[in-house]
């Protein structure tokens, strides 16, 4: 599976787990990720080609939001 999809899935699962009782917080977190990266992470599918620029932007946004832990397994 492409690295972009794996990274996006890992980040999404992590956000779901830390905001399991805070739906508004989850929505805000996903929205912040989208505005930082400039693209909707939910649109990424397993069939999409790997985009190194998007991977970089996603990693950078996740780091800014303090989500480094979830990126370890997707490298």
């Amino acid at each position: 599976m492409p690295e972009l999809y794996q990274l996006a899935s890992a980040i999404t699962r992590h956000l779901d787990s830390i905001h399991v009782h805070d739906p508004i917080g989850l929505i805000r977190a996903k929205g912040t990720l989208a505005t930082r990266t400039g693209f909707l992470v939910s649109l990424i599918s397993p069939n999409d080609p790997n985009d190194p620029e998007k991977v970089r932007l996603l990693r950078q946004a996740a780091t800014e939001l303090g989500l480094e832990a979830c990126m370890e397994g997707s490298r």
Partner: protein
């Protein structure tokens, strides 16, 4: 691979039709056999009846022959002789006809008919001998058509075994031939025909019983087949459809975490796959909408902060460059939001 739904229905219907056809065929077969045996029994009974009738006629002929011979011997009046002659003519024709009927009823009566011919000749030879002895002018002869009739002369010739016999000997020969025919051949034929009729009747009863038993057994088999087909169709069609319906209702009620695990490789499996794909598509679109909503919230917060900062800056005589920076930031956030909305709309 599991057969398709319509194939399963076709298999079930074919099985039911096949069992019903088998039932009809077996029942028809036994019934046809019983009918044939019934006809055999009827024919054999008719044969036995014809043989009994022939025996009765022959006995009557012999009796009439005795009466005519006696009348001729006593030189009875011509009227009496004529009457006796008329009687024997009638009984001869009756016997001949009855034996023809026996043959046409299927009995192997060639030998019996031959015995009848010998009995008839011996009887007329005896009567001729009595007439000769009594000095009567009556003679019995055979015409060109083979019929025996009264005449003044005779062309009947006695065979070797009868040529040297006198009246008493000829009378005895008639008696012996009568016994051989009636008590021998005809009785044996009647007994055989009756035995055949009895056997055919027994076999007919057996065939009818077999037909009834086979029909009952096959009706039971048909019932079992119908029940088995119904259960199979229910388990292979109705039950999976029920599970698919429950799954669709769960999804409709909002349980988007539900997973369908009983997919089959037929039309019902295609349906459940389609329902699951629809659910996954809905889940994805909700996630996109949530992310978009989140982006709007975050952008709204940023715009609000920028607006507050600009307002405070305006009150505190902040430089126009600083205000422009705030406006540029707001425009930038709006552009990001516009891009995200465009991505969502393209999906």
């Amino acid at each position: 691979m599991r057969p398709r739904v319509k194939t399963r229905i076709a298999i079930a219907m074919t099985a039911l039709v096949a069992v019903n056809l088998l039932t009809a065929a077996v029942s028809w077969g036994y019934t046809a056999r019983a009918t044939r045996l019934s006809e055999v029994a009827r024919a054999s009974s008719a044969q036995a009846s014809a043989i009994e009738q022939a025996a009765h006629r022959v006995t009557r002929f012999v009796s009439d022959g005795n009466s005519l011979a006696l009348a001729v011997n006593r030189s009875s009046a011509s009227e009496e002789v004529s009457a006796r002659y008329g009687e024997i003519q009638g009984s001869e024709l009756g016997s001949d006809h009855a034996l023809q009927m026996v043959r046409s009823a299927g009995a192997d009566s060639a030998s019996a008919y031959q015995q009848w011919e010998q009995l008839r000749l011996a009887t007329y030879l005896w009567i001729n001998r009595e007439a000769e002895t009594a000095g009567s002018g009556l003679r019995l002869t055979r015409d060109a058509q083979g019929r025996y009739r009264a005449s003044v002369s005779t062309n009947l010739h006695a065979p070797l075994d009868l040529a040297a016999l006198d009246s008493a000997g000829l009378r005895n020969a008639v008696r012996l031939r009568s016994q051989s025919l009636v008590d021998g051949s005809l009785r044996r034929l009647a007994h055989d025909a009756q035995a055949d009729a009895t056997l055919a009747a027994q076999q007919e009863d057996q065939a009818r019983m077999m037909a009834a038993q086979a029909t009952l057994a096959l009706i039971a088999l048909s019932l079992v087949t119908a029940i088995a087909a119904a259960v199979w169709l229910y388990r292979s069609i109705a039950a999976p459809l029920q599970r698919a319906r429950v799954y669709a209702e769960c999804v409709a009620a909002g349980d988007l975490d539900a997973v369908y695990t009983s997919h089959t490789d037929d039309e019902i499996g295609s349906l459940t796959h389609a329902i699951e794909d629809m659910k996954n598509s809905v889940v994805r679109r909700i996630a996109i909408m949530q992310e978009m909503a989140g982006a709007v919230l975050v952008t709204a917060d940023d715009v609000d902060k920028a607006a507050q900062h600009a307002l405070q800056g305006a009150k505190s005589n902040m430089s126009s460059e600083a205000v422009a920076d705030d406006i540029v930031a707001v425009v930038g956030h709006a552009k990001i939001l516009t891009d995200l909305a465009a991505q969502m709309l393209r999906e």
